[in-house]
């Protein structure tokens, strides 16, 4: 018997955690659309500085988490055996990207 997972095990582990229904996917999309509309509205309200940037960044991150979690199934894969590895692989890329950004900004900031 093979010691690797067969499709049946794979499918079983997928079925252990129910994915959203079609209606739920539509609701998530509507939520994303509303957040996008609110982002655009916020940018037109005349705020400046942190009052403008912080809410926009928060809304952007919320959208990011929703797309990654629901559409990319990370929330559901997390419930699979070893499924957190997918999230970790993706998160590792984001963390290194942020480190690159911080390093680049710091290099330009302090290398006058």
């Amino acid at each position: 018997m093979s010691n690797t997972a067969t499709p049946s095990t794979e499918h079983e582990s997928h079925d252990d955690h129910a994915h959203p229904t079609e209606t739920q996917y539509w609701l998530v999309f509507l939520l994303l659309a509303v957040i996008t509309a609110f982002e655009v509205l916020w940018s037109y309200l005349g705020f400046s500085g942190p009052a403008l940037v912080v809410p926009l960044i928060v809304m952007m991150l919320v959208k990011f988490v929703i797309v990654a979690g629901v559409f990319m199934h990370l929330w559901f894969d997390m419930k699979m055996l070893n499924g957190k590895i997918f999230t970790m692989a993706f998160a590792a890329g984001i963390v290194v990207a942020l480190a690159v950004y911080t390093t680049v900004v710091a290099t330009f900031e302090f290398n006058v």
């Binding site: 095990t9 999309f29 982002e39 037109y44 940037v53 952007m60 559409f71 993706f90 890329g93 680049v104």
Partner: protein, 232 residues
């Protein structure tokens, strides 16, 4: 168990494993793990491009506000330069309502993609084709919008080689556009395979992998839309 039975069982496992994308000893699909690692590495690419854009924009604005003739002359539309100086940002350059519509289209394509994956998981091949086609079509609309935007920028005098801002902006959004175009090619390939009857429920993971790529492209646009277009 006889040797013949063991060999037959191993052969069956091998065929099944091929359909499962060669599952690892972690009980996870190798292909899916590889895709997530690829997407993680893509974060580095776009992280670097976004960083470069932000730094270039800051440098460009400083020079514009200081009235550096070389930078000012790099924009052929003097009215636009005055608007940027008055606003203290590059915001006058962008057509936010138009880009918002593009963002909405890309978000909608993500919904269509996830519905395509759901359809193949349920062996609903008719809806699979509808949603794959819809995703590709919406992606094409997004690319058409990007071409229109690039053309408008070119007319305003912002070119790829004319200024630091232009180079950084076109590199960032251009790379994203190339990713979207690559995704459209993948979607069209899946659509053709489906019409040929070569994309069945056993291959649901293939659609899922293309879906992961497509959603990633969408999620990168979520970042670009806010960081590049909405934050002055």
């Amino acid at each position: 168990m006889s040797d013949a039975a063991v060999v037959a069982e191993q052969a069956t496992d091998h065929v099944e494993d091929e359909h499962a994308g060669h599952a690892t000893s972690l009980n996870l699909s190798n292909m899916k793990l590889a895709m997530w690692l690829f997407l993680g590495s893509e974060c580095l690419l776009f992280g670097a491009l976004i960083s470069t854009y932000l730094l270039s924009k800051a440098r460009f604005l400083t020079e514009i506000l200081a009235g550096n003739p070389v930078v000012v002359d790099s924009i052929s539309n003097p009215t636009l330069v005055e608007e940027m100086r008055a606003a203290g940002s590059v915001e006058p350059l962008f057509d936010i309502p138009f880009t918002s519509l593009s963002s909405f289209i890309l978000l909608m394509s993500s919904l269509a993609m996830v519905l395509a994956h759901k359809a193949i998981s349920e062996a609903d091949y008719k809806n699979l084709r509808i949603w794959l086609g819809t995703t590709a079509l919406l992606g094409s609309f997004f690319i058409a919008g990007q071409i229109a935007e690039f053309t408008a920028f070119k007319e305003e005098g912002l070119s790829f080689t004319g200024s630091l801002l232009g180079s950084a902006f076109f590199t960032l959004t251009g790379f994203h556009g190339i990713h979207v175009s690559g995704g459209i090619v993948m979607l069209m390939t899946l659509l053709v395979l489906s019409f040929k009857g070569k994309l069945n429920q056993d291959r649901a993971e293939t659609v899922e992998l293309v879906g992961l790529y497509w959603h990633f492209v969408d999620v990168v646009w979520v970042l670009i839309f806010t960081i590049v277009y909405l934050i002055p």
